[in-house]
Symmetry: C2
Subunit: 200 residues, 2 copies
DNA sequence: GTCTATAGTATGATAGAC
DNA sequence: GTCTATCATACTATAGAC
């Protein structure tokens, strides 16, 4: 019974997540979710307090798992550059494996963060920024990364380029998640200009 | 009289644009817009048919001007790499000068494009893609750009990294639009890795 | 666990007075 | 050009039957 309820909850969450990801949290109605699940909107409230509870559970559990992965990488023995690549790769893997959650985070976190209930989004965002900028500064110190760039700007560049791929990347497309990650990381590290050529 | 009406319309459009940019098109209500303008919601309909008309005028006129700029660059005599830099710089300038419109485009174009009225968004998106990928292929042919990357993937990377900056860039901040553009373009072309260092 | 029925509110838009 | 007043619809959420 507890198992069946849990399973039904998760199935409804999955359905809600797909709709939130595709249409946005605000323009997905509880009726949309119920329709997709084959039940009536009132029945959803047997499982969840509110629409906000649904998106809350989706984002919170996803982010917890993601940060566990990040923390493990940061705590490791690799060089700053290697850790940076590993974190980027883990993020692309999240896009591949948890597409809905990343899309919701990318599209609706700014709006949701305005509410007290979602204040953890702001805290984790700050933690994420700290992690990336520490890594970037360590990479500059170690000589692996360019010292002539603004660290905060590079952080935003990295963060955005990694996550914005959720807008077009679809699991099962012509490029695998790993291939996308490899090319993205290659561009980030070495740029798109030819290294021996007419320029520079 | 025609002038006064036109001015009032533009003022209301500007107000609506700021709200659409900050809260998103769908969660900005006509009452929000009217409140910001100091009038009642019904009075808005003296100036505009509908909420959609407002966002339509904002996006359409902005995109027309943007493409005029792009077309002039493409028609010029520069090398592919130089044109690519010029297009990127023009895009950052658009973020600086037409922040609301870029933000609306970035956040709501996907939703709006589902409606017939906004089908031009899809057409212009295709034109934009054609322009960038032509430029990238020309740059590879000329030897200025790396030949080992997937052109469609690089296009998406470029497009997204350029426009997503609207999420955090604010006119009048510590970095000017030109400074941001210069660093972004430098990262895009040459990457963040140190060129003489322990790696590669 | 789902349905019926509905409360209470917010929304986009309209008609006509001023 | 704005206001008053309002319509029709859609929304989140609830109460109680089955």
């Amino acid at each position: 019974m507890a198992v069946a309820e849990s399973t039904r909850r998760e199935e409804l969450l999955r359905i809600a997540g797909q709709l939130f990801a595709r249409k946005g949290f605000r323009s997905t109605t509880v009726r949309d979710i119920a329709d997709s699940a084959g039940i009536l909107s009132g029945s959803l409230y047997h499982h969840f307090d509110s629409k906000e509870t649904m998106v809350d559970e989706l984002l919170d559990s996803f982010q917890r798992r993601l940060f566990e992965t990040y923390d493990a990488i940061i705590a490791g023995e690799q060089s700053p550059r290697e850790k940076l690549v590993a974190v980027a790769r883990a993020s692309f893997d999240a896009i591949d494996q948890h597409h809905s959650e990343v899309a919701i985070f990318q599209n609706d976190a700014g709006y949701l963060a305005e509410f007290d209930r979602f204040s953890y989004l702001i805290e984790r965002n700050a933690r994420f920024q700290q992690m990336w900028t520490d890594l970037l500064r360590a990479g500059i110190t170690s000589g692996e990364l360019r010292a002539d760039l603004d660290v905060e700007l590079v952080y935003r560049f990295l963060r955005d380029t990694v996550w914005v791929a959720v807008r077009w990347y679809r699991p099962g497309g012509s490029l695998s998640g790993d291939e996308v990650a490899d090319q993205y990381i290659s561009i980030l590290l070495d740029g798109i200009a030819a290294t021996e050529g007419a320029t520079k």
